[in-house]
Symmetry: C2
Subunit: 320 residues, 2 copies
């Protein structure tokens, strides 16, 4: 089995912290290569040590800049850092978003920092599953911090951030929709809130609004969500962000909620992988099997309702 | 079979346009009662006539008010209207959001208007599937227009709106995050854009920004997405909205894309129902079966990786 032999040695190099092995591992995972899944299977017992921090927030608030500045801060403490950026893959804006990521490029030559982007569309289904496999690989490679950045739009991105130990929501003056979503209770309350681009004249208003929303949902004895002001492009406020992430970590460890969160997230991850594989298998059946195609055609002609067709599809699937 | 007999007569009353039969049907669908699925199965051949219009946009832009005003406009033309509101179900904000829906209440006594809300969380999984079953019931009941409102946050809501024939995005001055999301290509371009609360001084800036985003993505010969200004609370601009929804309908019928959209959406609906049922079945197994619980426990103890556990779970499921 040449594949198994190759991935065994890749696993050894990965666990030893070899940067190229990690890059190779991610490529395998991203392309849904069985060797990628096999690799994660091998190194999984070595995971669970890294601190996983998820960053979310609307496009344009400067999450990449913030993560770049935070990375510089974490490097001062000689921590090994991995950054996973979940990129929207719309062709006509890709350039603009990568330009926004320039701030991360100052770390490209630092061997203690590993940076990788993943496209959020066009991936072979199950993006959040793939992203979490990548996070596991980074963890196994001995990174102290795994920073995951998402655009904060769509369920896939939310699922990814949900798997973090600490969730940071980045806003900026003008993030009206996000405040409304927090107010309406349709966006979960994060662990740390950062108002970036804090030299904007509307920052005080923004902080005040956010504080009002948090006051509504805060329970006595619970973690008090801090609202930080940063000017990430100049590194301002980023030291405090690092401190608050530490404090949150200490809090959830003391409380025992870190273990609970991780257990719940891992269970969801298992169900998520199984669900997305089942969906892909059904899509493949629908595309290849003439009887399934005929079944779907009957739905389009309004002869058979979608739910009955779904039942038939499930029977066909389990009968295979 | 008393259940089948009951649902048969319910189906007859539904197709005859009985308002209480429709209300009952929706309750059955919402509570995941098999009689609800059975009912949709029976009336499905009578669907496909209604015009399905989806409304999305951040919380607070006044979608309910806009839909209320549009309903008044459609009633002038004596069209039968059904409104399905997908509500976030956060307990501490429910009141506020319902208050926002006051504008719809003027239609409560009009027999030509049917209004119903569904909670977006706490539903028994598969919200988007349930919502679409409800839309089918409204269609079968002879409604000319089915207006679906979602908060536009989260994949479930996006899935629902994707099933509409025409998608209206409502914004207001200050919807900075939504504009950024459109710019970044992480939010799909809708069919009609409405800038509500248009007496705000920043409206011109907003319209200009939206126009800039649309110019980037517009292809010659394609539908030109109109940007309308409304002041829904006073009914201003709503007549034009009704006209543009009509024009979009005519356009996609002439182009043949209405049939294509519907065929694609129905196929996705079948796969969506099958996927969410599979997921629920697996969750039930995980909760009830001690061996599955033990499997998940091994993942939490880092003995077995999530993907391998997912494979075992899928085998267990199909072996049942």
């Amino acid at each position: 089995m040449p594949d198994a032999a190759k991935s065994a040695s890749l696993a050894e190099r990965l666990v030893a912290g070899d940067k190229r092995a990690l890059a190779r591992a991610i490529t395998l995972i991203e392309s849904d290569d069985p060797a990628g899944w096999e690799l994660v299977r091998e190194v999984y017992p070595r995971t669970g040590k890294a601190r996983i921090v998820g960053f979310t927030g609307p496009p344009g608030v400067g999450k990449s800049t913030l993560i770049g500045a935070l990375t510089a801060e974490l490097r001062k403490a000689e921590r090994q850092v991995a950054v996973l950026s979940i990129d929207p893959s719309s062709p006509f804006t890709r350039g603009a978003l990568l330009g926004d990521r320039i701030r991360l490029s100052e770390h490209f030559l630092d061997p203690g920092v590993f940076i990788r982007s993943m496209a959020s569309r066009g991936a072979l289904g199950g993006l959040s599953e793939a992203a979490l496999q990548v996070a596991l690989a980074m963890d196994a490679a001995g990174k102290d911090d795994v920073l995951i950045e998402t655009v904060g739009v769509g369920q896939a991105e939310i699922d990814i951030v949900d798997h973090a130990d600490t969730i940071v929501l980045a806003l900026m003056p003008g993030s009206g929709d996000s405040i409304q979503a927090l107010k309406a209770g349709v966006m979960e309350i994060p662990d740390v809130i950062v108002v970036n681009k804090a030299d904007h004249p509307m920052t005080d208003t923004m902080v005040c609004e956010v504080r009002g929303v948090l006051a509504l949902s805060h329970q006595p004895g619970e973690w008090q969500v801090p609202i930080l002001r940063t000017e990430a492009a100049r590194g301002e406020g980023v030291e405090e962000l690092a401190v608050k992430i530490d404090e949150h970590r200490v809090h959830i460890e003391a409380e025992g909620t870190l273990e609970q969160r991780r257990a719940r997230n891992l269970r969801n991850e298992v169900l998520g992988i199984a669900t997305s594989r089942t969906r892909r298998r059904m899509e493949a059946t629908a595309a290849a099997d003439p009887e399934t195609a005929a079944l779907l055609e009957r739905v389009v002609r309004r002869e058979l309702d979608p739910a009955s067709a779904a039942s038939e599809l499930m029977e066909r699937q389990s009968g295979e």
